[in-house]
Symmetry: C2
Subunit: 175 residues, 2 copies
Amino acid sequence: MESSAALVPFSQLPSFFPQKPNNRISKAHPSWPSKPRTSLPTRIHCQKMYVPGFGEASPEAKAANNLHSFFTYVAVSIVTAQLESYNTEAYEELMEFLSRNSLNDGDKFCADLMRESSRHQALALRILEVRSAYCKNDFEWDNLKRLACKMVDESNTRLMRDYVLETSHVDNEGK
Amino acid sequence: MESSAALVPFSQLPSFFPQKPNNRISKAHPSWPSKPRTSLPTRIHCQKMYVPGFGEASPEAKAANNLHSFFTYVAVSIVTAQLESYNTEAYEELMEFLSRNSLNDGDKFCADLMRESSRHQALALRILEVRSAYCKNDFEWDNLKRLACKMVDESNTRLMRDYVLETSHVDNEGK
């Protein structure tokens, strides 16, 4: 019963990363002994590091955009699992639609689903409602922050430890 | 000066979306008039919707993993921009390394950068430090939540409005 989400096709993903060069409201970068960019009059000096390459948007907006796609995917998974347990006909219809349409662009997926038939339209409205409820009520934002920070710390430690182990020949001569 | 990040290559991205079917600690799904899944004894009933397909992990862990890659990308962008302004030699070296190595797997990128040369190693350590500081101090988590929820609401409204406009022939007969 829980396997339904595995059938959702994802060949490509919306990109986190901006493709074109541009400017963002600047931030000073106090962590490093670099020259302050006092020559640039438009820069706003604050205690945050300057992040280039996000244009008019911000890293937060870029990440939010990616999460938006993710929430659509989660909403489709939730609705699919619900339908599977009590409405086999609608489940089959949604799975058939999923097999023909990519979820990479979640909004386009929902727009197309709305226009497929009146039954599909009801499913689309339900997916919209679920993704809104999931984003606001169910998704654990504090947990996201905690996990992401933990992941960065653990990865940093692991990368440095692996490097030290690899280059240290004290206990491990032949390596 | 701000264009440095545009040179970072990103042909593929780490996936938000799980590929294989599996179970997760279950949640009830009270939003819909569905049958409660009382037949499954292992399920924990709470007020959240059941999200299938994330295995041992959670949607939050999946999203955190994606943000982890994003933070590495941001850290590389930050360091590149800093170097460009005061250490052209290191900037050139990092850009040259970036042209040869993908940032899709941020941890592998850092591991490879560490092993390139002692100068590259210093850059790698700096990237690790920046991504940790960025994640903990600079990234605006509250803003992320606000933007993502706003994006979902606006998209839902737009999708429904567009559909109504398209199917309504009251003011727009020929369409």
